[in-house]
Structures are given as C-alpha cells and as structure tokens.
Amino acid sequence: MNQNLKYLFFTIPAIIYVGIFAFYPSFDAVYFSFLNSRGQFTLANYKELFYFNICGTILNTVIVTVGALFIQLFLGLAIASILTREFRGKRAFSTLTIIPMGVATIVAAITFSFIFQTTGGYTNSFLHLLHLPTVNWYANKYISLLVVMISDSWKNTPIVMLILLSGMLSIPKDLYYAAALDGAGPIRRFFHITLPNLKKFIAIALIIRGVSEFNIFALPLVLIGYHPSLLTTLAYELYSTTTIYLSSAAAVILLAFISVFIILNIKLSGRK
C-alpha cells in the first residue's frame, strides 16, 4: 500500500491540473448560468434560451451527430476491413487514410466551404460538367447540416478507422480459418465474426466521436455560420453578443448532453 501511495503521488500534478482547468470551470459555468448581470440567482437565462430556439438547436446538434457518426462508422468499417488484408500498395494506402488527421479543422472547414459554395463551388462545377442541375447547398437547414456532416466526416473518419482497425486486429485469425473451412464466405464472416467481436470497439468509437460531434464548432462556424445554429455555435454567438450568463446557460445544456455520454463511457469501460 505504501508503494501504491508513492506511485499515486506521481499522478497528483495531473489530478490537480484537471481539477483547476476542467472541473472548476465546469462548476463555474453551471453557477454563472443561474445568475443575472446583477449577480442575483435567476432562471431567466434558461427561459430566454427559448427565444433563441434552443429546442431547434438541440435537434440540429442531434441530427449532425447521428448523421456524421453514421457516415464515419460506415467508411471507417470499410477502410479498416481493407487494411486488415494484404495487397500491393497497402502502406501507401494506410498512410493516405491518416492524412486528414494532419489537416487542421479550420483548414478542412475552409476547403469544404470552397467545395460546397453555391456559386463557384467545386461540387457544383462537377455537376455542371456532367450536365446535371446544380445544388444550393444552403437552401434549407437539412442540406446545410448535411454539408457539415460530410465535411466533418472527411476530417474524422481516420480516428474511427484507427479504433476499429485496432479492434479487428485483436480478433484471432483462427476464427476466420475455422469459418472459412466451414464454408462461410467473406460477407458471412464479416457479419458473424467481425461485427460481434468488434461490438465493444464500435461502441467506444461511437462514444468518443459522439462527444466530439456534439462539440463540433469550427466547421459549422465557417460553413454555415449561426444558421442553422448548433449548441456550440449558439453558445459562442451568445458569448460574443450578449452576456456571459446567458451563454453559460447554453453551454450548460451542452454539458448536460455530454454528461450522458460520459456516464455511458464509464459504464462501458467498467465492463472489462
């Protein structure tokens, strides 16, 4: 026990740091969200959020999260499956799939804003070349949110892919040989061996990415501005145009959703 105490001592700086810079501000945000500008306790901030269409904002955030997770999971599974086999140019391909991780979010956002511009955008340019009708990417809320999902998925699929790949590599090869001997084809092997054994990794990837999707900020800010708004862009808009108390209330609603993910994650990683 004495030994353990010594090792625990080494982790104290990290624990103190996290306390000061993560937990204290989080409590601060909750506290601020119940104050008015004269420092009195109030629920007015939360009421006022309804003027800013908080329900619609939450819905938009959920749509982006679910949509982006779906795209990333699909592509991540496809790429990870490819990378578990041997083929010529595998090294080059695996290097290529990591590249978006090295591209800053803001750079990805700007590049995709050129790709999805309504006039002078590269997607429309491509459609025009094929003599197809061009699309106004910001005509309605759903197309705008789709643009955010696609752009975000380009940047973040590699993370999902890496998590799924480390899961796939941990599945014993014998299982596949045995199944192949019993006459199971690649598709049946995928559904009966890969997917069940990958469940935990898929869950982890979904939680990790789900949290980031809820926090998505730079991409929507550049691509769609504040309309339609997401929880983060709303909080930032309120921070730069109204009071810190009102923006804290929006931030606390975001925190409430994230807390669900945090609890899920603890439950899940607790089952070793």
Partner: protein, 266 residues
C-alpha cells in the same frame, strides 16, 4: 479482388481531393478559381502571386509565432505533467489507476466551450486573457490525457525487473527515473511532446475565446475568411497544414486506436 482495388481507388480520391483543391486554389490565378462560377477541376495555370500577395499584405508572422509558442509550451507542459502521471499509472494496480484514467478521460470529454466561457472571465481578472501562457494552460486539457496515455503505455513496456535491479544496486526512485526510465522511454516522450504540439497547433475553440486580440494561426485564418480575404486564408492554410501532415505521417505508429480511444485496452 478487383472490387477491393476499385474501393481503394475511390477512397484514395476521397482522402486526397480536398487537399488537391486547396493546392489548386493556392497556386492558380484567381480568375480560374474563386472568381469563376464553375471553376475548372484541373490546373489551368500556375502562379505564386497569391502566396506572395497574402504574405506581404496580411500579418502572418505574429499569428505564426503565437501558434508556435503556445504549441511548444503545451508540449513542454504535457511532458512535465504527463511523464510523472504516466509513470505512476503504469505502476499502480488497476483498481487505483482506473479511477484516475477515468478522470482524465472525462476531462477530454468536457466541451471546450463550456470550459472556455467561465475561464475567460477568470483570466481577465488574472491578466492571463490573450496571453501565451493562459492559452497553453487551457489547451493542455486536450493534450494531457493523450500524453499521459502514451507515457503510461510506453512505461508499461519497460520491464519492472530493471527497476528492481536498479533498486538492488542502490538507485533511488528518482535516479532510476532520471538515469534509466526516461532514456529508455525517450521515443515515447518525444511522441507525447509532438502529439501535444500538433493538437495545440490545430486548436480553435479555446483560441478564439481566450486569445481573440492577438490570435493564433487558426483564428487568424478564420478572421481572414470572415473578412473575405479568401486567398490569404488559403495561402496561410497551406503553410499551416504542411508541417502537421509531415508530423502526422512521422508519428503514425503512435496514433493508435488504443490511445485515441482513451487508453482502453481490449
């Protein structure tokens, strides 16, 4: 087999296309890119004028050095806090190490905007608002868990017998760490530093809230795009991205699913 190669080619195009477009806009005359209704999908002409114009007309140097200083400080802080934490965690039994890991994991999940808004109020009082140190301290939140997980993994790979051996030979814990453990784990420490550096270099949310007056490069790029200086934003983006892509490829073996998933072992 043919099917796999088609998939590989399509996916390769998908990963490279945005970079290709960024490079094309940076090196083509504006009349072939941002000034046309249907910009051509291939290079029509090559020019360096966009870059020259951007770097002479807009301030690149100050944001660049701010980003560089903050990222370096974040890397150093990551080592100073992450190395001891990683060592402690790699030697603690699971039932004690586990709650600490969870604590770090939670930190990584706390939304940037939730933390940044109250911190901005505190930082104004403490004169840390818009400073290099202030921003680095907050950005460390993103990188510390990652650095700690990398260090924990690296130190776990060093056999404990070496530590017992050193103890028998009369080494104290600190001299063991200083003379044996750290030199052995140097590649892992370098990776932790560079990954921290990289995440800070990219970071946007904290930077725009806590350092809006003297911005870092990502925020400067955003400011340029909102003001309609598109070519400056593209030129800066390109210069800003190249070092990070090189670093990413260099650090590929440390960008593992296990670390990204928050130190979860299968």
């Amino acid at each position: 087999m043919k099917f796999w190669y088609i998939a590989i080619v399509i996916l390769s195009i998908y990963f490279l296309l945005p970079l290709y477009i960024l490079i094309m806009i940076a090196f083509s005359p504006a009349k072939y890119t941002i000034e046309t209704i249907y910009p051509p999908l291939v290079f029509k002409a090559f020019t360096l004028n966009n870059l020259i114009y951007a770097f002479t007309q807009y301030d690149f140097v100050h944001p660049f050095f701010k980003s560089l200083s903050v990222a370096t400080l974040v890397g150093i802080l990551g080592i100073l806090i992450g190395v001891p934490a990683g060592y402690g965690l790699s030697r603690l039994p699971g039932k004690i190490a586990y709650p600490v890991l969870i604590l770090l994991l939670i930190t990584n999940m706390v939304p940037g905007i939730v933390v940044a808004i109250p911190i901005s109020a505190e930082f104004i009082k403490l004169h840390l608002f818009d400073t290099i140190l202030g921003l680095a301290l907050v950005q460390e939140l993103i990188t510390l868990p990652l650095a700690t997980f990398i260090m924990q993994g690296t130190f776990s790979a060093v056999p404990r017998e070496i530590e017992y051996q050193a103890k028998i030979d009369g080494a104290s814990t600190f001299s063991y760490i200083k003379d044996i453990l750290i030199p052995t784990a140097l590649p892992g420490i370098a990776a932790a530093f560079l990954i921290s550096w990289m995440f800070s270099w990219d970071e946007f949310t904290y930077a725009i809230i806590l350092s809006p007056i003297h911005p870092t490069l990502p925020v400067e790029i955003y400011i340029n795009i909102t003001r309609g200086n598109e070519l400056a934003a593209v030129a800066f983006s390109l210069v800003f991205t190249i070092p990070v892509i090189i670093l990413t490829l260099f650090l590929q073996k440390y960008l593992k699913g296990e670390y990204l998933a928050g130190g979860v072992k299968a």
